[in-house]
Amino acid sequence: MFVSQFLLLAAFLFAVGVYGVLARRNAVMILMSIELILNAVNLNLLAFAVLNNAISGQTFALFVIAVAAAEVGVGLALILLIYRNRTSVDVNDLDLMRG
């Protein structure tokens, strides 16, 4: 098996996602980066499921996709409301919790 290729791809995707989350200013882009992270995890799950010849990993991946869809729905709604209030989705402006 070429598990290591899948894992490397997943690690790359994860790293790209983390970079996006930490570095992008646009909230929508951050949300998309989070999708990348989730999908990197999905890849890992599938890879190990095939390796171990077990179906539970694939089931898990399905759940993750469903939950990710819901999460994006909620996240986009939040961003929409933030935009309506402040006419901006720049996360650098969202520092109301600063101590």
């Binding site: 930490l22 650098n92 600063r98 101590g99």
Partner: protein, 714 residues
């Protein structure tokens, strides 16, 4: 009844409580006598029962003794009396111990304090006298104080007084005696001040109370001294019976008896109005007249006389009455009798004249006790209670009819308007003067005989006092009668006879003043009628020979005819002098205006020997100034200094505490805690940026570090 004698004072006591709670509800506050009179009436019935049963008891004891000697048998009291009549009076009578019932009250250090009743001839006689006078006064009062705003209050305290006096009479021990003594004092105080809205009345009440306190101190010390006497004799008791027994048998030392008797004499001086503590009694006339009749003539003021009679062995032994020919008791009594009678001449207030007469007659009784004529003293107590109460009620009736005045100058000629009052007053006056054959004649005669014969030797000075007082008594009483009932009416308005609720008690007292003498008639008088067995009833039933039988003196001398004639001559001479002076206008009238010596004498009497000035001005004045100043100095310099020092040092200590402990230790600790929290907060604040990406960077960075650590370690 002898065993349940406690019921006699209990009934008026219950009546007192009942009147207090419910009296105002009856007839709009004017019906308290509907409780008071029945209560006292039932007390009276029970007193009569006690007296009757005591007589029976003595007779039965005598009967048994005679039975043992083979003499006639006796069935009941009446037959017993009659049998004794036929047997003659000369044989000795048997002594019957008192009926004593007690319950333990409390015990401390091996001493039992008890409450109970002591019934013997003396207390039975007093029960009868007190409840009789009280009953008649209750009836009289229901008219006299009618419409008074404190009608209920008046009857409540009349009931309480009756209960207290009966309780005092039945006292089994000296502690109970003190309680009864104080209770009657309080009732006297309340009733003298019944119309306290007027200042003189309130002052009189206070004066009576405070003067009595002086004697009360003597009473308490005397009781304690006697207790120590019994303790020395190994008895540890307050029981009157035991004290008497020990005193008579000589088991208590003479010195203790002497000190005890002297202290108790001080108590007699205040309560029974003896010189020099008599000054409260004339002022006590500020109270309602029936109160004066009941409390300040017939019953409470004889408490002192009764106490001496009750503890007679103490006085007899302590003052050596049997062997001396003068002693404190006899002298104080005789002197009081003389000077009280002298004061009765100069006063214009009819009640004050009667008050001084009461002082004088109480002096007579005390003198009789002092010379050892025990029976005569009690006899005189009984007769005096009846005729003096009658005189007071007569004075009340006069004032009730004649515009509420007691001033003799505003009376006169009342004989026509109020015949009942006049005749009863005259009868009682004659009885007081000691005119044959009224009650006062017999009792006064016995006292004179007692003073003449004395015990081992006579009391000549007392006999002289007694005879002079007999003359003076007759004279001042007829002065009062002249000014009140004869001549022309000097007041205003038309006087009228009092209603029947007042005249009936008057006639009852007048009747008693006539017949009360029969209770102790001498044998020679009764001999012609074949009734000589009825002679000397008080002597037979009451004399405490049980304790003092070793003294022959206690059998009263059969009066000599000479003494009786001498006494009567004195009384008639007094009446004659008064008649000549007032009715005929003879004698040196106006002497007091012409002669300096006479004027000074009159002035001296009018101001009551300046005793009131001495007490309030000299004694009280000289004591209260320095004492007040000394107290003020003490207050300022000692008490205030202590208080100030306490305050100053407390302040200083508190200030030190504030500075060093509160500010220095506690506050600093708290502040340090606060500052620490502030500093750490300020430090942590810097990493709280509010930027979510920075948090995320930290999170992922930490996760990366952990991953590296895991990889390397594992």
């Amino acid at each position: 009844m002898l065993d349940n004698a406690y019921l006699v004072p209990l009934i008026p006591a219950v009546s007192f409580v009942a009147i207090l709670f419910f009296g105002k509800r009856i007839k709009g506050g004017q019906g308290a006598h509907w409780i008071g009179i029945p209560a006292v009436a039932s007390s009276w019935v029970l007193s009569v029962a006690v007296l009757w049963q005591w007589i029976q008891r003595v007779e039965d004891a005598g009967g048994e003794a005679e039975h043992a000697q083979g003499a006639s048998t006796m069935v009941d009291g009446v037959r017993a009396l009659l049998t004794r009549v036929t047997e003659g009076a000369e044989e000795g009578h048997t002594f019957v111990g008192a009926v004593i019932n007690t319950v333990d009250w409390w015990t401390i250090d091996g001493v039992d304090f008890q409450v109970g009743t002591l019934v013997d001839g003396l207390s039975a006689i007093l029960l009868f006298v007190v409840s009789s006078v009280s009953l008649l006064v209750h009836v009289y009062s229901s008219e006299y104080v009618k419409g008074d705003r404190r009608y209920t209050h008046y009857f409540a305290f009349l009931s309480l007084f009756t209960a207290s006096m009966l309780f005092f009479v039945l006292a089994e021990n000296t502690i109970q005696m003190i309680i009864g003594w104080e209770l009657v004092g309080v009732c006297s105080y309340v009733l003298i001040g019944h119309w306290w809205e007027e200042k003189p009345n309130a002052d009189a009440a206070l004066k009576a109370f405070l003067t009595n306190r002086i004697g009360d101190v003597g009473l308490m010390i005397g009781v304690v001294v006697l207790y120590w006497g019994t303790r020395e004799a190994g008895q540890n008791t307050f029981s009157i019976d035991t004290i008497n027994r020990l005193a008579a048998s000589g088991e208590i030392r003479h010195l203790i008896l002497l000190v005890g008797a002297l202290c108790l004499t001080a108590a007699v001086m205040s309560k029974s109005g003896q010189f020099p503590l008599h000054t409260w009694l004339p002022d006590a006339m500020a109270g309602p007249t029936p109160v004066s009749a009941l409390i300040h003539a017939a019953t409470m003021v004889v408490a002192g006389v009764y106490m001496v009679a009750r503890l007679y062995p103490v006085f007899y032994e302590g003052l050596s009455i049997g062997t001396s020919s003068i002693n404190v008791l006899a002298f104080v009594g005789g002197f009081t009798a003389l000077m009280g009678a002298a004061l009765a001449f100069v006063h214009w207030d009819i009640k004050k004249v009667l008050a001084y007469s009461t002082i004088s007659q109480l002096g007579y009784m005390v003198m009789a006790l002092g010379v050892g004529a025990w029976t005569a003293a009690i006899f005189h107590l009984v007769t005096h209670a009846f005729f003096k109460a009658g005189l007071f009620l007569g004075a009340g009736s006069v004032s009730h009819a004649a515009h509420h005045t007691f001033d003799l100058r505003e009376m006169g000629g009342l004989r026509k308007y109020m015949p009942s009052t006049y005749w009863t007053f005259l009868i009682c006056s004659l009885a007081l003067a000691g005119v044959f054959p009224l009650a006062g004649f017999w009792s006064k005669d016995e006292i004179l005989v007692g003073a003449f014969r004395g015990q081992d030797n006579g009391y000549p000075l007392m006999l002289a006092f007694g005879l002079i007082v007999a003359l003076m008594t007759a004279a001042y009483m007829f002065r009062v009668i002249y000014y009140t009932f004869h001549g022309e009416y000097r007041g205003h308005g038309v006087p009228h006879e009092s209603p029947r609720t007042m005249t009936v008690p008057l006639w009852c007292f007048a009747g008693l003043a006539i017949v009360a003498g029969v209770v102790n008639l001498p044998a020679p008088v009764l001999e012609p009628f074949g009734l000589e067995g009825l002679a000397h009833r008080i002597e037979t039933y009451a004399e405490p020979i049980e304790f003092l039988e070793q003294f022959d003196s206690f059998t009263v001398a059969d009066p000599s005819l000479g003494m009786a004639i001498l006494g009567t001559v004195m009384a008639l001479a007094g009446i004659g002098i008064a008649y000549l002076w007032f009715w005929r206008g003879l004698g040196p009238h106006g002497l007091t205006e012409r002669n300096r010596v006479a004027w000074h004498g009159y002035h001296f009497l009018e101001n009551r020997y300046f005793l009131d000035h001495l007490y309030t001005g000299v004694i009280v004045g000289s004591i209260k100034g320095p004492i007040a100043r000394a107290t003020y100095w003490f207050n300022q310099n000692v008490i205030d200094a202590v208080v100030d020092a306490c305050g100053t040092y407390s302040t200083r200590f508190a200030r030190w505490l504030y500075r060093n402990i509160d500010q220095g230790v506690i506050d600093r600790t708290v502040n340090a805690g606060g500052e620490g929290a502030e500093l750490s907060g300020a430090g942590l604040r810097k990493i709280q940026t509010g930027r979510i990406q920075q948090y995320g960077a930290l999170l992922f960075g930490a996760a990366a570090v952990l991953a590296v650590v895991f990889v390397i370690v594992i």
